[in-house]
């Protein structure tokens, strides 16, 4: 018992680590499931990164749509990233982070376009930024914001 009390910070650290791992994996799996499901639903809505020229009379309305998401990683992944910083190489912990953030942002943009009855999104752009306390400082909160924006085109009914 005394050993546990003496090394209390180590015990807390390990506990948080396990909590982060378990809860983090569950949350991530759930998020991915939701992403895949919504991607299926919104699959029919075309998105292109190119500009588009449409023939006269086809376009009823063009509107800017955006979608954004801020996702953060769990404690366990943060430890992995710290260790990676020593050895270099691909940081697997952050890959899912940015992937989720971007796909979520695109889905929200598509949803916003669908809500307006759009048939297509053109000239889509994606931006990613790291935010949290002191994003460039030492005590960072490893969270990432992704924005997806494009022009939603509502077509004239044929």
């Amino acid at each position: 018992m005394e050993v546990i009390l003496q090394n209390f910070d180590l015990v807390i650290f390990l506990f948080l680590l396990c909590l982060g791992y378990v809860a983090g994996s569950i949350a991530e799996k759930r998020h991915y499931k939701s992403i895949l499901q919504r991607e299926d639903e919104l699959l029919k809505l075309p998105v292109v990164t190119a500009e588009a020229r449409f023939s006269d009379g086809r376009v009823q309305k063009a509107e800017l749509v955006t979608g954004s998401a801020v996702i953060s990683i769990d404690y366990f992944k943060r430890l992995l990233a710290i260790l990676r910083n020593i050895f270099g190489g691909r940081v697997g912990a952050y890959e899912t982070l940015v992937d989720r953030a971007r796909r979520e942002a695109i889905l929200r943009m598509k949803q916003a376009a669908r809500d307006q009855g759009a048939g297509m999104i053109v000239n889509m752009r994606l931006e990613t930024a790291a935010i949290g306390n002191n994003a460039n400082g030492k005590r960072q909160i490893a969270s990432v914001e992704a924005i997806a924006y494009g022009t939603a085109i509502v077509f004239n009914p044929k």
Binding site: V3, I86, E95
Partner: protein, 273 residues
């Protein structure tokens, strides 16, 4: 232009390695490298400590003393002198200008500081009942000086801290993780030093009195209060029972005699009251 939506299976943007596998690889590598650096630094620091001249140590000693509020005690110095006189003439310990201080603190401890300064705490003195026990403790501290233990501890710890800060930066999480883990191993190292000092102390006790009566009395008294063995795994001193065992083993091996002990000198006994 035709649009054909395609559903994708699998995710190219995510690596396949399982996070736990990655963690074990990274952690394993880190532990390996830290262990290598630790041992390398340890050996070089040890080597440097044995080569440090006594004048450097005396200078360090003057710095260290300023941290302990204590007065020089002539009665203790007398006891120490008797031990020093029992040393062989070519012992490097004669180069030190030893001073013995008595600190009013109730802590049951005695500490060897660089430069030939020994500080004995009142709490320790109160626990001592015979002159031989005191001689054993002073001889133990002399053992530390003979092995340059205080310099070794200083060199190693400092070297590691400097290396970690150079590599990782001052406030980096990795740096503090590494330093905190290494600190526990540092304590383990000094347990070996303590055992070596015990052995030296036993030999010196025998030189002084012709027998080793009283060498284990103090530890036996401490052992009753010590409690379990587990906290001592990572403490700076070995468990009192372990020390008694080692001493008794040495007594048997070297064939030392055990005879009556002398009571504590008048001036030192009153400190306890």
């Amino acid at each position: 232009m035709k649009f054909t939506p395609k559903r994708l299976d699998g995710n190219v943007n995510v690596s396949r390695t399982h996070p736990l596998a990655e963690l074990s690889w990274l952690l394993g590598g880190l532990i390996l490298i830290t262990a290598l650096v630790f041992f390398a630094l340890g050996y070089s620091a040890d080597w440097a400590a044995t080569k440090a001249p006594i004048s450097v140590e005396n200078w360090l000693g003057r710095q260290a003393l300023s941290h302990f509020p204590a007065d020089e005690n002539p009665a203790l110095k007398q006891q120490l002198q008797a031990l020093l006189d029992s040393l062989p003439a070519d012992s490097p310990l004669h180069q030190y200008n030893f001073r013995v201080f008595l600190s009013p603190s109730d802590e049951v401890n005695a500490v060897a500081l660089p430069g030939g300064n020994i500080v004995v705490f009142s709490g320790l003195l109160k626990q001592i009942e015979s002159e031989n026990e005191l001689a054993m403790i002073l001889a133990h501290e002399l053992g530390h000086f003979a092995h340059r233990d205080h310099l070794r501890g200083l060199g190693r710890g400092l070297g590691l801290a400097v290396a970690a800060t150079l590599l990782f930066g001052q406030d980096n999480a990795a740096s503090s993780l590494v330093s905190n883990t290494l600190l526990t191993f540092q304590l383990r190292y000094s347990q070996t030093q303590e055992s070596a000092a015990d052995s030296f102390g036993l030999d010196l006790l025998n030189q002084r009195y012709g027998h080793v009566g009283g060498s284990t009395d103090f530890f036996a008294r401490m052992a009753k209060k010590a409690g379990g063995k587990i906290p001592y795994l990572l403490a700076s001193h070995p468990h009192p029972e372990a020390r008694i065992e080692q001493l008794e083993g040495l007594v048997a091996k070297k064939g030392y005699k055990v005879e009556m002990t002398y009571p504590l000198a008048e001036g030192l006994r009153t400190v306890g009251q």
